[in-house]
């Protein structure tokens, strides 16, 4: 039987309408789960001390993989022996996180038997995070998981588990097959995921459209974002229905009674001023449209993305360490993303080769590009510079030239100069 600790502070978190993790963990503790009881005990102590009580985990893992497990030990194990070791395993989630309960139970059954019974659905990268195992359980858990058809995700200086939005499975905006891209990349790059060999971590995230529900352009080194190059499809009858107030604005996002004010909500908010509504007809100057999604979001039944679909690729997003946060920068404005994604993978291999060669230890690709320049990066990827890659051209005069760009090169003879110019 698990020893239950007094947790007066945590008990305060059982109040209120939002689901309570304390109530949840307490129930499992009361059912006899010792790690749950001790986790609450240790957390209560952290609340009292206003300081955490975990030690850095050192190197733990499973044989054959360089990642997927994060080590963790309690610094007060004599008080809370159930969480003396509290390592996590990252389990690679199915793309866009649909689950068949029967399959999910394979994981929870193993985890109930060999681990703490606590988990994150899901970690920030996208994996299921099994939270709290003793060192000796790691190998058996891993073996049992793989026998059931589940594998670990990435950690360390490796490819991290790719993730994607719900995409075509249930979103009408999806311009690319986010789940297949995510799965295909995960399978293609298993070795890169499980055996860290790079300067630092690398993430792929796949969003089906520029709404970016998985925040790919803020959270992944390589963001693949669905887009289109032809015209937004317009259903004029549905436009009229929106204008007449027969269909709720914004897919009901402001309530089903909310009507579209076509001028205020659509035309005037279009960032490029490329929409017009005259004589009951909506027109879009598609050459000016930047495909921001706003009008489509407001009138999903009347407007749809075009039919010539593909993806924009943005490289280099990262959190602040060290030179400040970066968002991804547009490298490929448009690429067709069709199975088996060869053109995209060729780009990926070039990008990785360059980073592998030039990246310093713990330098994300975005920082590496910042240090060595976007021009060096696109050259290595065999891409031509185009104005779409920048918000504006440079405004400083320090233009670097390579010797071969200037006629005659850099080697000059001072005596030639002096023939024309007196000393």
């Amino acid at each position: 039987m698990a020893k239950l600790h007094d947790t007066p502070m945590l008990d305060e978190l059982e109040k209120g309408p939002w689901p309570s993790f304390v109530t949840d963990i307490k129930k499992l503790a009361e059912a006899g789960n010792e790690p749950c009881a001790d986790l609450l005990g240790q957390l209560e102590l952290s609340y009292k001390d206003k300081e955490g009580h975990w030690k850095h985990g050192g190197i733990v893992g499973v044989l054959g993989y360089g990642g997927g497990v994060i080590g963790r030990y309690s610094d007060v194990p004599e008080l809370f022996p159930g969480v003396e070791h509290f390592h996590t395993l990252r389990v690679n989630q199915p793309a866009s996180k649909f689950y068949k309960t029967e399959r999910l139970r394979e994981v929870t059954e193993i985890w109930d038997r060999r681990g703490s019974g606590m988990l994150n659905m899901h970690g920030s990268t996208g994996d299921m995070v099994l939270l709290g195992a003793f060192t000796e359980e790691l190998e058996p858990i891993f073996a049992e998981l793989t026998q059931k058809g589940w594998d670990l995700g990435g950690s360390g200086s490796a490819l991290r588990t790719p993730s994607c939005c719900v995409g075509k499975a249930r979103c009408e905006y999806a311009c690319i097959d986010t789940q297949d891209i995510c799965y295909n990349l995960t399978m293609e790059f298993q070795d890169e995921m499980h055996r860290p060999a790079w300067p630092y971590k690398f993430k792929f995230k796949v969003d089906g459209c520029p709404n970016c529900c998985v925040a790919s352009l803020a959270r992944s080194d390589c963001a693949i974002i669905g887009t289109w190059r032809d015209d937004i499809r317009i259903d004029q009858e549905k436009v009229a229905a929106y204008v007449a107030g027969d269909i709720a604005a914004n897919g009901g996002g402001h309530g089903l009674d909310d009507k579209v004010d076509i001028k205020a909500d659509v035309i005037d908010l279009c960032p490029t001023g490329c929409m017009f509504y005259e004589d009951g007809k909506l027109t879009i100057n598609n050459a000016e449209c930047t495909r921001c999604m706003h009008c489509i979001n407001v009138m999903p039944q009347a407007l749809r993305p075009g039919l010539d679909k593909g993806a924009s690729i943005l490289i280099g997003a990262k959190a602040p360490i060290l030179d400040g946060a970066q968002m991804g920068s547009l490298i490929i404005p448009f690429i067709k993303m069709e199975e088996p994604y060869d053109e995209f993978k060729e780009f990926v291999e070039k990008m990785w080769d360059w980073w592998d060669e030039n990246g310093k230890n713990r330098e994300r690709i975005g920082e590496c590009i910042q240090r060595l320049g976007l021009s060096a990066f696109i050259e290595a990827c065999d891409l031509d510079p185009i104005p779409q890659m920048v918000k504006e051209p440079r405004s400083n005069p320090y233009i670097f030239y390579k010797e071969d760009e200037v006629p005659g090169g850099f080697e000059r003879d001072i005596s030639d100069y002096r023939k024309k110019h007196a000393r």
Binding site: P19, R170, H254
Partner: protein
């Protein structure tokens, strides 16, 4: 056990996504025409084939037990043919293809009590967050507890559509920002404010000095001899309290009850809709840790949300609103104090200074 381990496989990858789809998703993959939110938390998607699916989005705690997950599975078995999904923002979605199951499912969710509907449209949806005191070794704050306290207070905005636009909140428990919170309408960030305290007597035994020095992003760590111990010294002026040294060297802890706390950031977005994606900007540099319910943090966030809700134009995100009215007005309207910490003094700082005569009083 040896036998189990001997049979292990590797590099098999995750189960293929389509194994996890209910029939209606399989049949209508890529054929969806449009969606409508019927009420907070309830979406209907309509397909070219005429099929419809109803999705019921419910709050979940990212940190959960197998017991809670089993309850979710049971509801999915009963109503969703044994299928369900999670959203990127830690919500659970039950998916049904038969309208007659809608009301019974809603009742089952209400009976469960831990699965409130909401998080759609112009709402505050679930908070994405990191580990905090539940698992990580460098956090300045807890994660799950702060999230619970904030969402209790904002619950009214979770299951309604009364905001000008969606408001995305996220939390990271130290400035490594595992959750990449730097592009959220409101982000809650754990911050340390004291350089590491060095255990000179043990440092050389517990840590490799060169890798410890190399771990510091600002080169604040130098080798030093202290009381005959081989150790290191930290240049406090250069330390930005990131904790990277502690990850390499357990003899350099940062956590400190008085030093640690919360910074609040506002106005970021990742969607490309209307304006381009933006970073969140500093609103409040420091609020003390106040477990178990962090009242000052909760009140400040509520205040920001309410002022935004009252002042922003329809469809305007928090950052778009602040940009339109001007940040000087943001501070005035929210009553948040502006201090020297708000003025950037890191690299590229000058790009954020005002280089114009245009401003508001």
């Amino acid at each position: 056990m040896a036998e189990i381990v001997a049979n292990k496989l590797t590099d098999i990858g995750p189960p293929k996504y389509d194994e996890m789809w209910p029939e209606v998703i399989k049949k209508n993959y890529g054929k969806w025409l449009y969606h409508e939110i019927l009420e907070p938390g309830v979406l209907v998607h309509v397909s070219e084939t005429g099929d419809k699916v109803w999705s019921l989005r419910c709050a979940a705690t990212r940190l959960m037990t197998t017991m809670h997950l089993e309850n979710i599975c049971k509801i999915a078995d009963q109503f969703g043919g044994g299928f369900f999904r999670f959203t990127t923002r830690n919500n659970v979605e039950f998916i049904i293809d038969d309208e007659s199951k809608l009301e019974p499912l809603k009742k089952a969710l209400a009976d469960n009590g831990q699965l409130p509907l909401g998080g759609t449209g112009a709402s505050v949806t679930n908070i994405v967050h990191t580990q905090g005191w539940v698992h990580c070794h460098t956090p300045a704050i807890d994660a799950s507890g702060v999230v619970k306290a904030v969402m209790d207070e904002l619950f009214d905005y979770f299951n309604s559509h009364k905001l000008p636009a969606q408001v995305r909140i996220s939390l990271a428990c130290c400035l490594n920002m595992c959750g990449a919170v730097h592009c959220s309408d409101i982000s809650i960030l754990g911050v340390h404010r004291k350089p590491p305290v060095i255990e000179h007597s043990h440092l050389d035994k517990m840590c490799e000095i060169p890798t410890t020095i190399a771990a510091c992003p600002t080169a604040a760590i130098k080798p030093a001899k202290v009381d005959d111990f081989k150790s290191v010294a930290v240049n406090a002026d250069r330390c930005m309290f990131c904790g990277n040294c502690y990850t390499m060297c357990p003899a350099m802890p940062l956590a400190d009850a008085e030093g640690d706390g919360i910074a609040l950031w506002v106005g970021g977005k990742v969607s490309n809709s209307k304006s381009m994606p933006m970073f969140s900007k500093l609103a409040v540099p420091y609020i003390p840790n106040e477990p178990p319910r962090w009242p000052t943090t909760v009140d400040t966030i509520k205040k920001i949300v309410e002022v935004y809700a009252g002042d922003a134009m329809k469809y305007e995100r928090v950052g778009e609103w602040a940009q339109r009215i001007g940040w000087e007005k943001f501070f005035e309207k929210t009553g948040i104090e502006f201090s020297h910490h708000h003025i950037d003094d890191y690299r590229f700082a000058a790009t954020t200074w005002r280089t114009s005569t245009q401003f508001k009083w």
